[in-house]
């Protein structure tokens, strides 16, 4: 029995080991809304040896930059990123949550100075990785819904 549901890609990025249910958030973080020029495959709720179930996203003809990797780390801390060139895995990365998330989150406090027209990037200090807890360096507020505030 063939269990291959999606064929390998020629060039692009495979994001594997996404927590089940988070694939659509990964798409949103990558700015993939529907208006695409290359194939995007989304696999939700597939069996995983490590954690039972997982999601996978395959984006053809696009390689992710470090800022995009940091954003994915916020919602899928155990994700692995495979850069595919000519059907081969050219680069293999694990995402890593930095101690400071710079310019990738918007503060939920509407009265925070970073939400005004000031020439600064937001800075969040990662207080704990499991569970994920981040605090705005400017207004000291803890951000409750991290996935909902990714820029």
């Amino acid at each position: 029995m063939r269990d291959l549901k999606v064929t390998p890609i020629k060039n692009g990025t495979v994001i594997d080991h996404i927590p089940t249910g988070m694939a659509l958030k990964v798409l949103r973080v990558l700015g993939i809304t529907g208006d695409v020029n290359s194939t995007v495959s989304v696999l939700m709720h597939v069996p995983s040896k490590q954690r039972g179930w997982k999601d996978i996203v395959k984006v053809e003809d696009r390689e992710l930059n470090p800022k995009e990797l940091s954003k994915i780390a916020l919602i899928a801390p155990d994700a692995t990123i495979n850069i595919i060139r000519n059907y081969n895995v050219a680069e293999k990365h694990t995402v890593a949550l930095p101690d400071r998330a710079v310019g990738i989150l918007r503060c939920a406090n509407p009265n925070c100075i970073t939400n005004s027209r000031e020439p600064v990037e937001s800075v969040f200090l990662v207080r704990s990785k499991e569970p994920l807890r981040v605090r705005c360096q400017y207004c000291d507020r803890e951000l409750e819904d991290v996935a909902g505030h990714i820029l």
């Binding site: 970073t114 005004s116 027209r117 000031e118 400017y138 803890e142």
Partner: protein, 310 residues
């Protein structure tokens, strides 16, 4: 925080116990100068800018008084309407401009995080005089100084914080600072205005004994320090509900009847109905000393920041 020369004063969280004690001891030496009994010119030639983006008369005046008592000078922002702010200038640009007019900057701003942002755009030390609902570290230092000075120390004190503990920024900062000392805390507030969970969690995590209650008269006999804050009418949709709560958390002779002789009552002022005028004449009332202490504490900070230890 370590050395003080040239440092920003943004949040009380940047102050270790040792730092706090350095400020308190320096402030004590400043008291006779703050009272005008001794002259001092150590900050002669220094200029402090006071940037108040929202009104706060007593904080601004006490900074100005502190600077002038030490022989320094102050340049103040005119009314906001007349300045570039209404023309849409960013805080970052305002700070870059003010930097060239003065040696240190005092900032009061309606938005949280404004002082930290300001500090990133200038080499001059920035002193946070309140940013929105955020930090107001010099208020905390003067509260600590009052407790320390009135009792001869902070360790061992049984301290109750009373009133609007949910929204009052002074009580949050004070609580965090008191966790550096060996104290017992009681939070007294109506149900909807109790201390935020993360503040209470922090206190417990530091191993500080903590009681949480709505019953003020019951805790009074056990206390060394009673710190009461204003309950704001705006927090209550129903005026009757406000009247009921405000009446419950009012300090008068009756409430203080069972108190220790040495109990001190503090309030960041202005008060409305929280403390009956009859309390003013009792030895418990120390809130006017507390207000005065804003001057020596700010003198101490300015002096330390400018590198002139007293």
């Amino acid at each position: 925080m370590g050395g003080f020369t040239g440092r920003d004063v943004l949040s009380i969280a940047d102050f270790s116990r040792k730092d706090i004690e350095v400020v308190l001891k320096a402030a004590k030496k400043m008291v006779p100068i703050a009272r005008g009994e001794k002259a001092n010119r150590t900050l002669e030639g220094r200029i402090l800018s006071t940037l108040f983006f929202e009104p706060s008369t007593r904080t601004r005046l006490s900074f100005e008084s502190a600077m002038k008592r030490l022989g320094g000078d102050v340049v103040a922002f005119g009314p906001i309407e007349a300045s570039s702010i209404v023309k849409g200038e960013t805080l970052a640009d305002t700070i870059r401009m003010v930097e060239s007019y003065s040696d240190a900057i005092v900032l009061r701003h309606p938005q949280e995080g404004a002082a930290r942002l300001a500090a990133e755009f200038t080499e001059r030390p920035v002193i946070n005089a309140g940013d929105g609902a955020g930090q107001h570290p010099t208020q905390t230092l003067l509260d600590l100084f009052t407790i320390w000075d009135q009792r001869g120390g902070i360790d061992g004190a049984k301290i109750a914080l009373v009133g609007d503990l949910r929204y009052g920024r002074t009580v949050h900062s004070l609580t965090y600072a008191l966790c550096s000392f060996d104290v017992e805390l009681t939070f007294v507030a109506p149900a909807g205005l109790q201390m935020p969970k993360e503040v209470a969690e922090h206190v417990r995590a530091q191993g500080i004994p903590l009681a949480v209650t709505e019953d003020l008269p019951k805790v009074v006999p056990n206390l060394d320090v009673l710190y009461i804050t204003r309950i704001q009418k705006e927090r209550f949709p129903d005026p009757q509900e406000y009247a009921k709560v405000a009446g419950t958390y009012r300090i008068d002779a009756e409430v203080l009847r069972g108190a220790k002789k040495s109990l001190i009552v503090l309030h960041p002022l202005p008060r409305v109905d929280e403390i009956a005028p009859e309390v003013d004449a009792t030895p418990h009332a120390r809130y006017f000393e507390q207000a005065f202490n804003g001057v020596p504490v700010r003198m101490a900070l300015l002096s330390l920041i400018f590198g002139g230890a007293p």
